[in-house]
């Protein structure tokens, strides 16, 4: 029996995972996977990615889209849609971002902030000194 190497198996991993690979390919893949840790890990990774895609929860449709679709079918249906579909606020990412506290500063940002504050203080002190010198 021929043997598959990693490069040959890779394009067939998805079919193997779904169980729609041919019998011959399945046997060759079983044989390779029994020997190759890297491909077993890749198969597990593929399973994880597939599960995530399958469980991808939909975003809510923008408010008004259902009503607009109904209105495209006729004014009566549009009126009925306005009664039936509640205008829920769009709880997208923007709203949650506003509620979230600001992200903590990185080290560079913190140093830069202190440098700017120090420069402003120095500038203020220099200006105050010059003004005091002129008065005295």
């Amino acid at each position: 029996m021929n043997r598959l190497d990693c490069r040959q198996l890779l394009p067939h991993l998805e079919s193997y995972l779904r169980g729609d690979a041919s019998e011959e390919l399945r046997l060759l893949a079983d044989d390779h996977l029994a020997r190759c840790t890297s491909c077993r890990r890749r198969l597990a990774h593929l399973k994880q990615v597939t599960a995530m895609l399958a469980a991808w929860r939909p975003m809510p449709a923008p408010p008004g889209l259902k009503t607009e679709t109904a209105a495209a079918l006729g004014p009566d249906l549009g009126r009925r849609a306005r009664e039936v579909f509640p205008r829920r606020p769009f709880l997208g990412r923007r709203r949650r971002e506003r509620l979230r506290p600001p992200a903590p500063m990185t080290g560079y940002q913190r140093v830069a902030t202190w440098l700017v504050i120090a420069a402003l203080l120095f500038l203020g002190a220099a200006i105050a000194y010059r003004i005091l010198q002129q008065w005295m």
């Binding site: 394009p11 079919s15 995530m52 991808w56 449709a61 009925r80 849609a81 990412r93 923007r94």
Partner: protein, 216 residues
């Protein structure tokens, strides 16, 4: 928590109705509530398919409205004889995506989905609940990287993956949507999944990069 009675109660009564019954009611009796129930059910489905495919909110809205309205103008013309309505809708959606010349095969047409519409937490699987912290962290990292990898796929690859996985399309249904034979549809699906997988860092690389974060 109590809910005030909503005016959507007519649709609540149709919540368990099969799409075949709703289509029949909409077509034969011109039942407004059946039509609205179909709109209610399929607007988010099509909008998300198009958003994940094109990354363009305005285009997703426009095509969702057009495809759904055209299908509902003649619901008898797109019945699911022995299949699902999503297949008929996806087929029409794909035809229109091709018609607006987004060039689905060309890698140059790669749209980055705006971060506010790419919500990695929506990729959370039920299995994530109650995972050990290290595993949950790894899952979070994978979701974030999946978002980056997704934006580097070609449009047809995104369309196929956004359609096949969440809606559990069979190879035959996918072939119908794409207008290809089953072996070709299977090949397109496998290539799309492989492209996504290759865009992601290998698990060992991810673990190596994850290690410093994992330290207390």
């Amino acid at each position: 928590m109590t809910h005030a009675p909503m005016p959507s109660s007519p649709l609540d009564a149709l919540a368990d109705a099969s799409e075949r019954d709703l289509l029949a009611s909409a077509a034969v009796r011109a039942d407004a509530d059946a039509t609205l129930a179909l709109i209610d059910r399929y607007t988010p489905v099509l909008f998300n398919l198009l958003l994940r495919t094109t990354g363009l909110v305005a285009l997703a809205e426009e095509l969702t409205r057009d495809v759904l309205a055209d299908a509902l103008r003649q619901p008898a013309a797109v019945p699911p004889p022995d299949g699902r309505w999503i297949v008929a809708l996806a087929k029409e959606t794909y035809r229109r995506l091709l018609a607006i010349e987004l060039r689905p095969d060309e890698p140059t047409h790669r749209v980055r989905i705006a971060p506010r519409y790419w919500q990695p937490e929506r990729l959370q699987t039920a299995d994530d609940d109650g995972l050990r912290p290290a595993t949950a962290r790894a899952a979070r990292l994978l979701r974030r990287r999946l978002g980056e990898a997704w934006s580097r796929l070609a449009m047809r690859q995104r369309f196929v993956l956004a359609l096949v996985e969440p809606h559990k399309l069979s190879t035959g249904e996918l072939a119908d949507v794409l207008g290809e034979s089953e072996p070709v549809a299977r090949q397109i699906r496998d290539e799309a999944k492989l492209a996504l997988l290759l865009e992601l860092p290998r698990p060992s690389d991810a673990r190596r990069r994850e290690a410093p974060e994992a330290r207390p």
